[in-house]
């Protein structure tokens, strides 16, 4: 990882772990956002400059592969680099989170970001000096190649009312960063909760999963942040299922502005079930599969 910079270092706290005994997905995103801020600073876009200009580096898309679970007490490090500059003005970053004790890669992040005016949300061109620095840092990073495209059916984006209503709420001020914009962590926190409602549709609840030593783990996220989410917005999430292989299954969530009906964020998740004792993946139980197939038919109809 010689071409990548150290952009985040720390440890996993017990309060970042969920009922499955590992760090909840939202905290991977929180740490990746910190890493992105450090990388932006290395382009000359440090916090004081952005603050003075009323600008921010906003994530517009994320691809995250969860490779190994991290548990309370583990220490980690994130390395990041610039993958390229797209014609539409977005910058592509690559980040890798590693367990510093084992040296094993825990997660990879491919992030597309743009510079925005925090008040209007308007996209801005990168300053010349930042662009020049980004070009200097741009590298294929052949030792950390980007993942293959996620293979799945496309989630529907129309007639969303027929999908499962998996969350309804509003955006609190304490969730927002500067400029009143919600960072990725709190999008993902909602999606993590939505998954439990989706599992309920599959006939699963905490008690039945515990009784069968069944846990669930996300493997792969593909996220599109369509527009910023801001304090005071009333939002809901519509969820559905795309496919169910022997072990790996794909589902999706759309986070929607309840007032306007506009899509805020969409995510496709690849996940599997695992044995809570052996910490190994297991096939989707047959009764669950039967319900999943009905849900897939409804979601894609």
């Amino acid at each position: 990882m010689s071409a990548l910079l150290v952009t985040r270092r720390g440890s996993i706290n017990a309060w970042e772990c969920d009922q499955w005994g590992h760090m909840n997905v939202q905290f991977y995103l929180a740490k990746a956002s910190d890493a992105q801020a450090a990388l932006a600073a290395s382009l000359g876009l440090g916090p004081s400059r952005l603050r003075q200009a009323g600008q921010g580096v906003l994530t517009v898309a994320d691809r995250i592969l969860f490779k190994r679970e991290l548990r309370a007490g583990d220490t980690f490090c994130v390395h990041s680099g610039v993958r390229g500059i797209a014609a539409d003005g977005t910058l592509d970053f690559a980040s890798r989170m590693t367990n510093t004790e084992s040296g094993v890669e825990a997660a990879s992040f491919e992030t597309r970001a743009r510079l925005v005016d925090l008040t209007s949300g308007q996209a801005l061109g990168w300053p010349d000096d930042a662009l020049a620095r980004a070009r200097e840092l741009t590298d294929e990073h052949v030792d950390v190649p980007p993942p293959k495209p996620m293979a799945h059916a496309q989630p529907p984006v129309r007639d969303l009312d027929r999908l499962i209503l998996s969350y309804r709420g509003s955006i609190e001020s304490w969730e927002c960063e500067e400029g009143g914009i919600v960072p990725p962590r709190f999008h993902i926190a909602r999606f993590a909760d939505c998954a439990n409602h989706l599992f309920r549709e599959l006939g699963l609840n905490k008690a039945s999963m515990r009784a069968n030593n069944l846990g669930s783990a996300a493997l792969d996220y593909e996220i599109d942040y369509h527009r910023p989410m801001r304090v005071g917005q009333v939002v809901e999430t519509r969820s559905g299922m795309l496919d169910a292989g022997e072990k790996v299954f794909h589902f999706f969530h759309h986070l929607i502005d309840s007032s306007s009906g506009e899509l805020i964020t969409s995510i496709v998740v690849a996940a599997l079930f695992f044995d809570l004792v052996a910490r190994k993946s297991v096939a989707m139980p047959e009764p669950v599969r039967a319900r999943a197939e009905r849900l897939i038919a409804t979601s894609l109809s």
Binding site: R9, S11, A37, L50, T75, T100, W174
Partner: protein, 141 residues
């Protein structure tokens, strides 16, 4: 020599009504740094889980030198200040990454604890040896 034990960012959620990072989050970041400096002397996550021993903080001195605002990037460098048979004192120094100014220094006094009996315990000799190699002066700059 001090080593980097934390690199992160001040979030808006960590700031109080005075417009700067609340004191509790300096300590939170020192706590994150502590696991890394401990790991560097052999008290790794695996060691703690298997050996069932770890340093527990029994005292802390902090000097808050500069305020931090939402979005600021921070780095902590840490080392070992003092060693006894059951005790290690760690030094942590936090810098604002952008300005390189030292914004906080902290000494954390620890006693090695048996996680089952919840009582103090001797520190293993190989850990002491690694800790000695990590010794720094309080005036280390």
């Amino acid at each position: 020599m001090l080593i980097e034990t934390f690199l992160g960012r001040v979030t808006a959620q960590e700031c109080d009504h005075l417009g700067h990072m609340n004191v509790q989050f300096y300590v939170s970041k020192v706590s994150d740094a502590a696991w890394n400096v401990m790991s560097s002397i052999g008290i790794t996550p695996t060691y703690i889980r298997e050996r069932r021993r770890a340093p527990a903080a029994v005292g802390q001195e902090i000097a808050y030198l500069k305020e931090l605002k939402a979005g600021d990037l921070v780095r902590i460098e840490s080392g070992v200040l003092a060693i006894e048979a059951k005790k290690i004192t760690f030094l942590h120094r936090m810098r604002n990454v952008e300005t390189d100014e030292v914004v906080m220094t902290s000494k954390v006094m620890t006693v090695n604890m048996d996680l089952d009996t919840r009582r103090s315990a001797l520190i293993d000799e190989d850990i002491l040896e690694r800790a000695r190699a990590r010794l720094v002066s309080e005036l280390t700059s």
